[in-house]
Symmetry: C2
Subunit: 338 residues, 2 copies
DNA sequence: CCTGGCACTCACGGCTCGCGAGTGCCAGAC
DNA sequence: GTCTGGCACTCGCGAGCCGTGAGTGCCAGG
């Protein structure tokens, strides 16, 4: 087990390195933090920390930098979440308040997060499967062509075109619309499949084909892969990555273009609170030199989606975690109001 | 006026520089292109081209690189548009064919363009103001809350929440819906304002407030700034910019995040064919070292939106122009089918 | 267990220098 | 007049060569 002082040394190393971007040596450490011991003692502690794999030297006779494992310890044990100041909170609230619809809320949230953290922001749209149905609408666009519109309690709207196997009368349409809504309105999306199972039965034989097409389209919309959307922003902040970034930035940009990768990334975080995945903890190899800070947000007590930021492992964890948490909280409020 | 040979020299310089990314000298030129003259002659031609501002030297005793003006001449006079090969055309068609809705078409187009050109792709959604109305739908979500849904002939769907000044009955709603659609369905969006002017008149006094709220929301949706959407992709290709890119890439990423900037960029191109804006021809200063190749696309003869790519001024213009033109053509076809 | 001292390592920046690609100019040939 | 070969000149680039200094590990003594 590491002594208290060694933990302090690690904390000091992380803080200094995050601030300066340069390997930190024993002498500089004792000067900037009053640890009450001499550089030589710190050197011994550093050697121990290095043995345990918390810090490393880029090359012999250089200072130390934290490893992923070091950051992990720092985040778990040595640092809290830095709360936002009152003015910052007000600014967040003001910024989000003017949003006119869900797209706008998400877009504003992305911008806000990117600005606050000076990193790449990722915001997932409220998940369908974790929302409840506000309304299902069916529009007839042409004799054998329908549009299905889903509206959730979080303001999300999904639409789908449907080509009917047979023409579908206005009366049948109204009937189906009414039956659908009475079954599913106000219910959770996860319950929808079982709620609509037998909905085709009361219909005339000629209409059944269309009804079941509609139902299967509805169910398709709820399939995991299709139903998730997200928005990213602040990619310009990638340029703050470091000097050697041509090699680092490329895979990151590529990963950010793969929505699937990002969704997995956010999805993996199961904690109720802020989750931090550091460097190699990220499954995707392009993101091995980045950390992902994410958290769920939702209108009520329950999370309906996630948001977070992607940045260099050398980041200000307490501050970033604070910003992410605060933004999530306010987005939740905004959604609850609408 | 420049002699024929000098133009050939310029063409050769552009081609070589685009290929190698390195300043090209007189000797290398005569070796790679059989111009039929000696390096010394080429040197004289180069001196003349430099005097005219078509090429420049990064430093004394280095080869020449084309200036923006040189690229401009190259694009206008010296190079055509390189048509896609038959297999390429087939690949484009296959790639776009599987799309299920407009979002999907746009997303696929972005990916495709980015892959074909190996540059950053930008695709604008079909403009509302240049489309015709397929259907307008009004849904009642709550007693005093409506949702307005606009559907265009290109498959684009916009929705807007409306808070009514007074509760609005189901009957009035059906009435308004029917009147609205009979007026505007099949008409161009630009005509909508004049078509709905007097639509509130037939309604009872108590409903008029709501009706005019609905109408003004409808008109707001058509306001230039709100109605334009776009999607970008292939930002990872920015890493192919050059060696010095830390400084170049940053403003480009920033510009790409400003949708307004991009819309302006695409909007400026008025040509019916492929438009190329080179380096400093772009108004936005962050894009001074990039070229933008764009073209309109549409389901019929008329352009409903634009698409294009953003890349380094040192790009393969004929190839890029060919790819952009071909993709636009096929996207137009896909939209016409749906 | 901490500390001061000491010898050692090694990245970094500045320096020189030779190489070679590229240039401009000029005198002569066609 | 135009092209060509020749020639002297420029200058960026990379290699090699230090000196400097921050940083280290180890050890003997408090």
């Amino acid at each position: 087990m590491l002594s208290e002082r060694r933990l302090q040394v690690l904390r000091a190393i992380v803080q200094d390195y995050v601030g300066t971007e340069e390997p930190v040596g024993s002498k500089a450490l004792t000067e900037r933090h009053n640890l009450g011991v001499s550089p030589a003692t710190v050197r011994n502690d550093m050697a121990a920390l290095e043995d345990e794999g918390f810090i490393a030297q880029p090359h012999t006779s250089a200072g130390r930098i934290p490893t992923d494992k070091g950051y992990r310890l720092f985040v778990d044990k040595l640092a809290g979440v830095k709360p936002m100041t009152a003015p910052e909170r007000r600014a967040i609230q003001n910024f989000l308040e003017g949003a006119v619809d869900l797209d706008d809320v998400v877009a504003r949230t992305v911008r806000l997060l990117a600005q606050l953290t000076r990193q790449v922001a990722v915001v997932q749209y409220p998940s369908l499967t974790r929302s409840t149905v506000r309304h299902v609408e069916l529009l007839s666009l042409a004799p054998a062509r329908l549009m299905l519109v889903l509206i959730t309690d979080t303001g999300r709207v999904e639409q789908r075109m449907i080509d009917c196997p047979a023409p579908f009368g206005e009366a049948s349409l109204a009937d189906l619309r009414a039956r659908l809504n009475s079954r599913v309105a106000g219910r959770r999306f996860t319950d929808v499949p079982s709620l609509v199972e037998d909905l085709a039965e009361p219909f005339e034989a000629e209409d059944r084909g269309t009804v079941s097409t509609v139902l299967s389209t509805l169910l398709e919309t709820l399939v995991e892969e299709n139903e998730e959307r997200l928005m990213i922003g602040g990619t310009a902040n990638l340029t703050r990555f470091g000097h050697d970034f041509p090699l680092v930035i490329r895979p990151v940009l590529e990963a950010l273009e793969e929505q699937v990768v990002l969704l997995k990334l956010l999805g993996e975080a199961k904690d109720p609170g802020v989750t931090v995945r550091i460097g190699h903890e990220n499954a995707h190899e392009g993101l091995n030199s980045t950390s992902v800070v994410s958290v769920g947000y939702g209108s009520g007590g329950e999370a309906v989606a996630k948001l977070g930021v992607v940045g260099p492992t050398r980041m200000d964890y307490p501050g970033t975690m604070g910003a992410v948490r605060a933004v999530a909280r306010y987005v939740g409020q905004i959604l609850a109001e609408s």
